[in-house]
Assembly symmetry: C2
Homo-oligomer: 490 residues x 2
């Protein structure tokens, strides 16, 4: 098994706290992390404090960027999909990805990107217009989501949207509308369930159910607010971070979208799908759970619960930039239940080190608490570790948000060959995607920053010549009636 | 004559410099204004230093914003145009706008907005994508400009684009591409000439030639760099600001677009048009020159030169947010030549006070030098003075950029009745336009900030699934051959 518990912080400097003598990190951490919103300042402080930029080489220069740019523009973004029907168990970690990660197996690379793009759709389709009455919802109904997100050829269909409570102990994770009347004051769209169609199922050797969990657009807002308070889950000694569990399990009868919790919604849908495909249709069925950042944490909680409910179902998690979630007992229980977990991380990304790095507000710096916290919060599963410096397309400066972005991760996966080789020269994924919502690409590529947005930010000129926000298509207004109209024919 | 030389700075505080004793402001100003780029800091410092927010009332609240918003969305943005063929000389200042400005005559209001929208088109159509090889040019050819800018019903047609040198003594006024190969390293699109069609000419009582001059997107960058050095113009004692004159008159044989200066380009086109309509066709012809900010300064220089070249042509200037341009002799000569000038200003906008407010870098504050500089730089013409506080749609805080924006001016003109009355309740111009490139509208209107932009910032997904900047339509690539193909039939 690879990298189950690899400390990620070996190059961090310990500051003036001798943590080996001071083993009360929970209390300490809690006191120092206030709930005020200072994500920007945070991002500014990090590079200096963590010496991230040390030994960074100067930007590499391509001999002829213009030609590269032109050539790329006329190349398909993906190779043809290969049949993996007899390899899927390896690809999903039956051997703990032994020998598949470094160098990275091309078939595995392709599948990692596929699942990552499902997670990316939860960002691309999220209404983040704070003047929209639908802020925090998906802009499209579940039938349209993949078409609108460029996933029409993914071979999967969305069956269910999942909503989570927004009024919980992590006050700043959600998208809030500034309006008084909104689709829901209490809930955010937090992910979806999808299932492979017949053709894709033939290619991949089984009926694959996917759950994709959305993270937060600005992770700095929530990791500061993490309570660092472990809470029991299940009947054993397993404990997980209170904030994540709260998002996963909160519900309230007086809400429209969270009369049931995210956990209940997703488990009900999974039961329906597993019953139909596995029990009634006797198909080979797998469950693959994905998510980025906070979504990666939710993926782990969801995998834990699924494994308890579907003991013989092959369950794997492919997470991106996920923070630590639980204690060692939680990790061990996941192993015992046979959940296969692949964590994709970027060396320079700070979020996978959370909890473990704590903002010490009084000293105005970050302290590395992993020496103690790693005994409490631990990572789980195999790790595919990427490095932003491997890509010649990425800027070299420290960019807290940009490095953490899922599109940056997917770009690095696409170019990863092995930890000792350079960026894959025949990587085909569109590099422009990296800059969707950040400023990570070198100028030579001529891609605008934060370019993924609607024309006129969604305003349209009506017949009277006025610029107005068009009414949302009635079929795209979120429905509180529970499950979406099903698209898988029963 | 109204408000020819009204000091605009009566509520400013003098700091620790007694300027009445220290009459060397030219040298002083020059030393303190470095050419470094610090527009952002500048904007932050201003409100405190100038006490702009003093006595600002709390935001007014409409009883029911939602209804107002809905109602507005279904109302045409403009009243039908009225025949002004027997009033146009008054509207263009033959009586120096006596009795027309306060209260503002509705017919004059309508014409001010018309000319302001011509100036606005020079911003809306400017390519400001620094990764575009056409950065600094108009995105469309001259035939398409009005269609693309919502001016297809203006009753005017563009006949000529004007280009100005960018390598001059005001180093930061231009838009620069980050690319090495560009349409022109030396020039920027700086304005256009247009002429009224037959129908509009009948309505307004004459063939109207318009020159619209573009300002800068970020005025803070250039006014810091103004040399505050007066330079002679013409044969008399008239002197004007060196930087403005440099933009207007610079040329260079080795460039593609400025083998002739902006001055020469526009004067040649005006001569062609005046010859055709006035001399050959014996029509009544007028010249109206408009511009915002820097463009207002260029309008004045253009008017001066035009008056010298076309002695009997009725010439008027309608400028918005223009700084001072020249000395008293320049002003007097403009009067003697019969140029009619209407300056539209906003009380809280700092640019019309330039030159006259100087950043004292060593003291980190602004000093009001108008006590001395007004003897050197002087405003000219009648003034229509607006107040951001008059509009219930605008935010109350000091917003250096937002207050200076031309769309803010046009909104305030549209709502202006008189200096003693409230915002016009039946103002019909689309309020959303104000937020095109700033954050000035109250939240209740639900208009995004800086919303005027292309989908995906101009990137398009090509047939290979790649996001690329499409090649510019060949007919929209700027042509260095001098005059555009003419659209007025000779």
């Amino acid at each position: 098994m690879k990298a189950i518990h690899l400390p990620l912080v070996t190059h961090l400097h310990h500051h003036n706290l001798d943590l080996t003598k001071n083993r009360v990190p929970m209390v300490y951490a809690y006191q120092d992390v206030k709930t005020s919103k200072k994500s920007n300042r945070l991002g500014e402080k990090l590079p200096n404090l963590l010496n991230i930029q040390k030994n960074v080489p100067p930007p590499s220069t391509h001999s002829n960027w213009n030609n590269i740019h032109e050539d790329k523009a006329n190349t398909p973004t993906m190779s043809p999909k290969e049949d993996i029907s007899d390899r899927w168990r390896d690809i999903h970690g039956i051997q703990e990805w032994e020998g598949l990660l470094d160098p990275l197996h091309p078939l595995l690379r392709r599948e990692i990107v596929k699942y990552g793009e499902f997670a990316q759709a939860t960002y691309d389709a999220l209404d983040i217009d704070s003047f929209s009455e639908y802020c925090g919802s998906c802009m499209y109904n579940s039938h349209k989501l993949f078409d609108k997100s460029g996933l029409n050829k993914s071979g999967y269909k969305v069956t269910k949207f999942i909503y989570a409570m927004s009024q919980i102990d992590m006050p700043q994770w959600l998208e809030r509308s500034k309006l008084t009347y909104t689709w829901s004051k209490d809930s955010n769209w937090i992910g979806f369930v999808a299932v492979s169609d017949d053709e894709e199922s033939r290619r991949i050797g089984r009926r694959d159910i996917v759950v994709a969990w959305r993270g937060t657009v600005t992770p700095s807002e929530w990791y500061e607010n993490m309570q660092r308070k472990l809470e029991s889950i299940g009947h054993m000694d397993s404990k997980v971070e209170h904030g994540f569990l709260s998002i996963y399990t909160s519900k309230c009868d007086s809400t429209r979208y969270n009369k049931s919790s995210a956990s209940e919604q997703v488990m009900k849908e999974l039961k329906t799908l597993v019953d139909f495909y596995k029990t009634k249709s006797a198909e080979q069925v797998s469950l693959t759970i994905t998510g980025h950042s906070l979504g990666g944490a939710l993926a782990l909680l969801n995998a834990y619960e699924s494994a308890a409910n579907f003991p013989k179902l092959p369950i794997s998690v492919i997470s991106f930039a996920a923070p630590r979630v639980g204690n060692i007992a939680f990790r061990d229980e996941l192993y015992q239940m046979g959940v296969k977990i692949l964590r994709v991380t970027v060396k320079q990304d700070l979020v996978p080190r959370m909890p473990g790095i704590v903002l010490n507000e009084s000293l105005q710096k970050f302290d590395d608490l992993t020496g103690t916290l790693e005994w409490i919060y631990t990572h789980v599963g195999a790790e595919l570790k990427l490095d932003v410096r491997s890509s010649p397309y990425l800027k070299r400066g420290f960019n807290f948000i940009g490095i953490h972005m899922l599109e940056t991760y997917l770009h690095l996966v696409d170019g990863f060959v092995s930890s000792s080789s350079t960026f894959r020269s025949n990587a085909k994924r569109d590099v422009a995607l990296v800059n969707k919502a950040c400023d990570m690409l070198v100028d030579e590529l001529r891609i605008p920053t934060c370019w993924y947005q609607l024309a006129h930010k969604g305003l349209e000129c009506n017949s009277y010549g006025r610029w107005v926000r068009p009414k949302r298509d009635p079929e795209d207004i979120p429905s509180p009636t529970g499950r979406e109209e099903n698209t898988y024919g029963f």
